[in-house]
């Protein structure tokens, strides 16, 4: 299988350290001890013939790559009332359908992300009907990996309708932004290198900048979160 070379020892007394390093465990740049069996086999270099013909069925599933995903196809609802009218953006709703936890048995690079259709209730209010005092509500989605916020994966879900205190000819939707009958497609992905063996925790959460007196929600018709661990 591998090409472990013959052991050479100088005549004389038996030296335990030499025997150990030359035959059992010598993690040199080119491993040539029995240690090579411990995670060091490379078909091109260590297999007899080096013909890259190791059959796939001889390799255990998950040796090089592992993948986790979860999603939903039934609508999920997140309500502004769950936020208790709190203006603190760190008091957020965990979007449970878009969370994932997995145990990774080796050091790796993680490719991860999520996708979701979003249909949010959020309104643009023109309180005094003269262009002053405009309030634009929105929802947003924050992404955490292993407890740390990844700000580059932030998604904002803008208002989907507009209104005035004294409506006249104002339409009930805002065609420039999302409309209530148009779903937002959010897709985010990134990479984390140098991930050490252990648990991976991915979490998304929602928060709303919504007028306290309103009853608003974000609906997610479908969503999906995933992680691909590539052993390094």
């Amino acid at each position: 299988m591998p090409a472990i070379p013959a052991l050479t020892l100088s005549p004389g007394n038996v030296n335990i350290d030499t025997i150990y390093q030359d035959s059992i465990y010598g993690p040199a740049a080119t491993p040539d001890t029995f240690e090579i069996l411990n995670g060091g086999l490379d078909e091109a270099g260590n297999w007899t013939g080096g013909d890259n013909s190791l059959p796939a069925w001889a390799v255990q599933e998950g040796t090089f790559v592992r993948y986790w995903s979860t999603g939903f196809t039934r609508w999920e609802y997140y309500y502004e009332r769950q936020l208790s009218s709190d203006s603190n953006v760190n008091n957020r709703l965990t979007t449970a359908g878009l969370c994932l936890e997995a145990y990774i048995p080796w050091d790796c690079t993680i490719w991860y992300g999520y996708q979701a259709w979003c249909l949010q209730d959020a309104t643009q209010w023109d309180h005094d009907n003269n262009g002053v005092g405009l309030t634009q509500e929105y929802w947003d989605i924050r992404f955490n990996i292993d407890g740390a916020v990844n700000n580059s994966m932030y998604a904002k879900l803008p208002h989907t309708r507009t209104t005035q205190d004294d409506p006249t000819t104002t339409p009930t939707h805002d065609p420039g932004y999302s409309q209530e009958n148009r779903w937002k497609w959010v897709a985010k992905m990134s990479v984390k290198t140098g991930k050490q063996r252990g648990y991976l925790k991915l979490r998304t959460s929602a928060w709303a900048s919504i007028e306290p007196e309103t009853i608003a929600k974000t609906k997610m018709p479908t969503g999906f979160i995933w992680a691909l661990a590539l052993r390094t």
Partner: protein
Amino acid sequence: MAVDTYLSGSTITNSGIIAQHQSVRTIINGQSRDTLDRSALGDQHLQQGVLITADVNESTTAESLTFAGFPIAAETTADISANWKRLTSYDLDNAGAGYSLPPCKVLIWFNGRLKELDTTANDNGQAWLCLYYSVNSTPVYKMVNVGMIHAPEAAFTAIVNYNLAEEPVCIVDVIDQTNAGSTWTLDWVRVKAAVGRGSGAAPAPGNVEFLQGITGMMAFYKDE
């Protein structure tokens, strides 16, 4: 084949150890792939063999462009090359060194946030984006890596903002260099953008702003 072992009470010598090592290595080296059982080898035996390298640029820096400076003239790669604005916050280039790679496939992507597309002055404001890359010092533009965000309506009245768009964007591509004869270099992965006005009359969007984007790459060993 059995392994030669010392008998209890015998003297351990260098020559005896060499003989024992020889008997063990002969058995190990002699294993052919035909003797392997199903799922015989795992991560406890094999080196990793899928990922060559991966890199990512996660930016929270905002970048803006205006119609006056970067209008789209045509949906062509020549126009992208000549007229669009490079969003430098999303450059991915291994700190300028590029990525020296064997024949392989590389997954590249950009996802980000169009924070603002202001079409105050006109209907049909457009923001265009292109993910592109360079192989061996030659930029590569593909129309399949172009996306457009459309804000269909200008302001109906002066009192409400109908004219701003907010959109997530995601573009993914695969660079197939499995037929490269030797080591090649992925110099960089970048993003360009432009603004347009669709069927509306000039002027088009006054401002387009991108924010919170990610440019990434992952290179995978090819099948042998």
